[in-house]
């Protein structure tokens, strides 16, 4: 307990003594973690968009309205055999109508009249093992006599996936660079503390303080700087995100943006804090190894 108190008081004293360098270290770490936060938020949104895109990656084959059950059943089993096909779902005329009713819940009564003479064609929804199979599968489907029309949105989904990957790589690269910089900045801040206390450290070792005891306040200081950085980074990232989301909602109202609920915020802060603490620990450990020579 007494040791813990000592470590805490040492840490706060030295942070206070090197206010500017401590602040700059936290700020740099904060910036690195801001990038992390933004990329976290972007990837949440991309995941959301990707999910939507995946449904669009479905191929819909509309069948001949006059086809018999047996004809349809044999077509479905043949479609299953096409190379690259992963999932096949048959949607009957009745199913299609149910879905339509579901979509227009409040106006379902209008659709009631359709029950007598359902104009919707039966269809087959096909998912492929990957976007690259789509052209071949579409071609094969078009060869069926029973298939009236084939619909798919290949281009959109592929673009989205590409953009998502690019953004993730880019932010990962940026994070790595800024992360490395913040490790170094924290290391430097700790070095200043070590220099300021070199005489004290010498005396501590002379009177029999263990290496762990000598090092711990410095490691703790690094961890604290990293943690402060994560708070700065999270706050800034959330602020920027909300601002951008607001602007998007204003100008592109149909674009889906994931709102930040407290759960998501805490999860994000958890990731940020953990990263910040690790960056801080890495920086101070580097400096302690290099300059303390305990």
């Amino acid at each position: 307990m007494r040791l813990l108190g000592y470590i805490f008081s040492q840490t706060f004293r030295s942070i206070w003594r090197n206010k500017l360098s401590s602040f700059l270290s936290s700020l740099t770490t904060g910036f690195a973690l801001f990038l992390l936060g933004i990329s976290f938020l972007v990837s949440i949104n991309l995941g959301f968009m990707y999910e939507m895109a995946e449904t669009q990656m479905e191929i819909q084959a509309y069948m001949d309205k006059e086809a018999t059950q047996t004809q349809l059943a044999s077509a479905v089993s043949q479609i299953r055999e096409i190379p690259g096909v992963a999932e096949v779902k048959f949607v009957s005329k009745e199913d299609a109508l149910e879905e339509l009713k579901e979509m227009f819940k409040d106006k379902a009564s209008v659709l009631d009249s359709l029950e007598e003479d359902n104009p919707l064609p039966p269809s087959v929804r096909i998912k492929t093992a990957g976007a690259e199979h789509i052209p071949a599968v579409v071609e094969a489907l078009q060869a069926f006599d029973i298939v009236d029309d084939v619909m798919y949105q290949e281009e959109v989904s592929r673009r989205l996936v590409q953009i998502g990957k690019a953004v993730q790589y880019l932010s990962l690269g940026g994070m790595l660079v800024v992360g490395l910089v913040s490790v170094m900045v924290i290391a430097n801040s700790i070095r200043l503390t070590i220099d300021a206390r070199r005489q004290e450290i010498g005396i501590m070792k002379l009177v029999g303080a263990t290496d762990g005891f000598v090092m711990t306040p410095f490691l703790f200081e690094g961890v604290l700087l990293g943690f402060l950085g994560s708070a700065i980074g999270t706050g800034f990232a959330v602020w920027v995100y909300n601002w951008v989301a607001m602007k998007i909602a204003e100008f592109i109202p149909f674009m889906p943006i994931v709102g930040l609920d407290p759960d998501a915020l805490w999860q994000m802060f958890g990731i940020m804090a953990l990263t910040g603490v690790m960056v801080g620990l890495a920086g101070s450990a580097f400096s302690v190894r290099r300059h303390l020579r305990v």
Binding site: R2, Y6, E200, I203, K205, V207, G208, A209, T210, D211
Partner: protein, 226 residues
Amino acid sequence: MISFRNVSKVYNGNVKALDRVSLQIDKGEFVFIVGASGAGKSTLIKMMYREETPSSGQVFVLGKDLAKMRKREVPYLRRRIGVVFQDFKLLKDKNAWENVAFALEVTGTPRREVNRRVTQVLNMVGLLDRRNAFPNELSGGEQQRIAIARALVRNPDILLADEPSGNLDPKTAMEIFAILERVNLYGTTVVVATHAHDIVDNLRKRVVELREGAIVRDERRGAYHY
């Protein structure tokens, strides 16, 4: 208590600081290490608290072979050895009391025990009434007495002093040695490297003389010179 067996120390490959030194110091002894500057006195003292390790030979202190001692064992050795320097090595931003208490705090001693021990040693060096003074408010002799108090606060088996009166006038130096002598009377082994002729001649203790890293004289009740 302290035993050197054929110890040599070579710095940078060719500077010989100690040359086949063998020396036995028993519990409760008071030993002066004398010799010209650069004769190896400081190196000898530093080896006793494992600030330096020998290039060859063996050093035993408190029953431990220091050359074989692991780094993480060193702090526990030093808790049993007090060291005093020419330049006092006090922390300027701590007052007298805090400087002494520091030596106990860094090993997690309970506060009550710290208070008891610090009071005791400050009283012993006669500076309890100056406990709130900072080093820059203390005279050289007072600063050295604080440093001695710090070295003694853990009740060490051995007290090492490297030129403890090097920065002090003769009268103050005499006071410092009087304290060291009293410490020795209580049973602590005292080893002092010094240039202070008069005091060595006066106290008539064991004298070990070094010349160019080698022991040239070891007398029971010696003087500074032959």
